[in-house]
Symmetry: C2
Subunit: 331 residues, 2 copies
């Protein structure tokens, strides 16, 4: 991590993990609570709670008392979406471990997930800044609604052949970016920040989330698996209509376009040749450059919003460093 203040990020992460571990209990019925402790203990970068805490500290919540419940709320909400998404996608693994519905069963996954969503709201309720609660509740509802809508669009797009680039960008905004923005907005509101400053932080998070998702899509096809740790070409193998695919359709000539559509209508048992051919077509169409350009535009817009927000400049620099580390190139 290239942060100028890595110690602050490490310190906040440690404090958050301590607080998270303190939520684990022997509460009954175990069939309901054990899966919640399990998924929350699987790990992850904890980016959303970290940015919520940083946003709050920017606006004076030095000891994190006002914002720690918000950090828990966004992390529990995020893991609720993972739990239910894993059921819907029938995914066997999450962070290298069994998913909840694999380790228990689907009904357990549904009900424990439902309770996690309720727990997220319970953490909001525990915020000491009661004056901000109505605004925070509305923000949380808006963000949570967006995440559900994004998931539905993602499902809908699998069956559609006419998804536009605008629709795809709206989908990833809802599914991924609004929660990062929401975490920042909620952290700022919990600390008592003005609505205008909280709105700038929301926009910073939303645009950073979009840049991050584009970078993630780019690395899936053009990344080095030794660096990313993931198999390259996954999205191509799964015929996923990412920005790369949609932009390639826009930029390629008719013959290449027909070939690309043909590859994406097929799921060969050995996908090696498909990955090579599609990657090559995308490279010839200038996709890496097109993705990088849009990503950098989002990133620049994100930093403009961060600059426009008030708050402690030192903490702001740490937040920027954290965003940089999320968006870092392979080099």
């Amino acid at each position: 991590m290239s942060s100028p203040y890595p110690s602050m990020i490490d310190d906040l992460r440690r404090q958050f993990l301590d607080r998270l571990a303190a939520t684990f209990s022997d509460r009954e019925p175990r069939g309901l609570y054990a899966p919640i402790d399990y998924i929350l203990d699987l790990g992850g970068k904890r980016v959303r709670p970290l940015v919520a805490l940083l946003a709050a500290r920017m606006f004076g919540d030095e000891d994190l008392n006002k914002s720690m419940p918000v950090a828990l709320a966004v992390e529990v909400f995020h893991n609720f979406t993972l739990l239910h998404d894993d059921i819907m996608d029938d995914s066997p693994l999450r962070r290298g471990q069994m998913t909840v519905h694999e380790k228990w069963d689907i009904n357990t996954g549904i009900l424990s997930g439902d309770l996690m969503l309720i727990q997220a709201y319970q953490y909001l309720c525990e915020c000491p800044n009661k004056a901000a609660l109505p605004e925070m509740l509305c923000t949380f509802n808006r963000v949570a609604t967006g995440v559900c809508e994004g998931q539905q669009y993602d499902v809908d797009f699998e069956a559609r052949q006419d998804v536009t680039i605008g629709e795809y960008l709206k989908m990833i905004e809802l599914k991924t970016a609004v929660l990062l923005g929401g975490a920042l907005e909620l952290g700022a509101l919990a600390a008592g920040a003005k609505k205008e400053d909280a709105d700038h932080l929301y926009a910073f998070g939303r645009l950073t989330g979009l840049a991050f998702q584009l970078q993630d899509d780019l690395l899936d096809t053009f990344g080095d698996s030794k660096v990313t740790g993931k198999r390259t070409g996954n999205d191509i193998i799964r015929n996923k209509k990412t920005f790369l695919f949609l932009k390639a359709l826009e930029l390629l000539g008719k013959e290449d376009k027909d070939e690309l559509n043909a590859w994406f209508a097929d799921s060969p048992a050995d996908p090696a040749n498909k990955v090579i051919r599609v990657t090559d077509m995308m490279a010839r169409a200038g996709i890496p450059q097109a993705v990088a350009e849009l990503r950098d535009q989002y990133q620049a817009d994100a930093y403009a919003h961060l600059d426009a927000a008030g708050g402690d400049p030192g903490v702001k620099a740490v937040l920027r460093a954290l965003a940089e580390s999320l968006l870092q190139r392979e080099s």
Copy 2:
């Protein structure tokens, strides 16, 4: 309905249904919102929103402006639990119509249900009485958590042979009664009632819910299907360990007890003889009298809490009449 003011109940139901219908929209994505409109339009007695509105009117919310969002919140939450429970129980029908996961699919049922839970919180957010919002949010979370715990206990009890009467009563309290109590408490809080009065209404609703569930269990075995409209003996056929079964085990001699346990370990293709034998054993054990006694005790305790609550006596009488109609005997 034997209400002294049936016109007020009918009027409130009509106003609620008008407001509910106004929530139906063309909002996108349809795959997410259409199932929500569908389940909310299936009907039902709308008891929870009605008691919320009556509780609020008891404390001065004459035009229902303060409490209508709460009425929507509890009805949408209740239908969220029905939607997810139907998936977990693999039920094909709900109110005589296809369940959401049958009409669409399980993934749609999960995601639309999730959004309904979020919408319930969104309605809370729309309550004009912002001063009461922190208390209302905590109440809603407490109730929603209880409902999830009750559902898990219900699942757990199916696999257990050692469920006690106390555990069963706790389970039906969580699964059914706390939401009725919560609807009343939230209605009162939305109207600006004192916490003490809201607590009395919660207790009234909780105890009425327990009495209602016992009455429901009683009618399932000893009711007249021509009056109830349901097949008599359903719980016996499904080996459901209700209060009737657990109390019978307590009251019967060893030989009868062994026979009852044997019947409940079996699922004969033609259950007619099983239903006759088990019903007969329960009748001999004095189960109808035991259930009626406990039901009447809950009901009396419920009315004591209603009497102890402040508020408009005329509206209180309507609320009592509504409870009477829920608990009415077949005669």
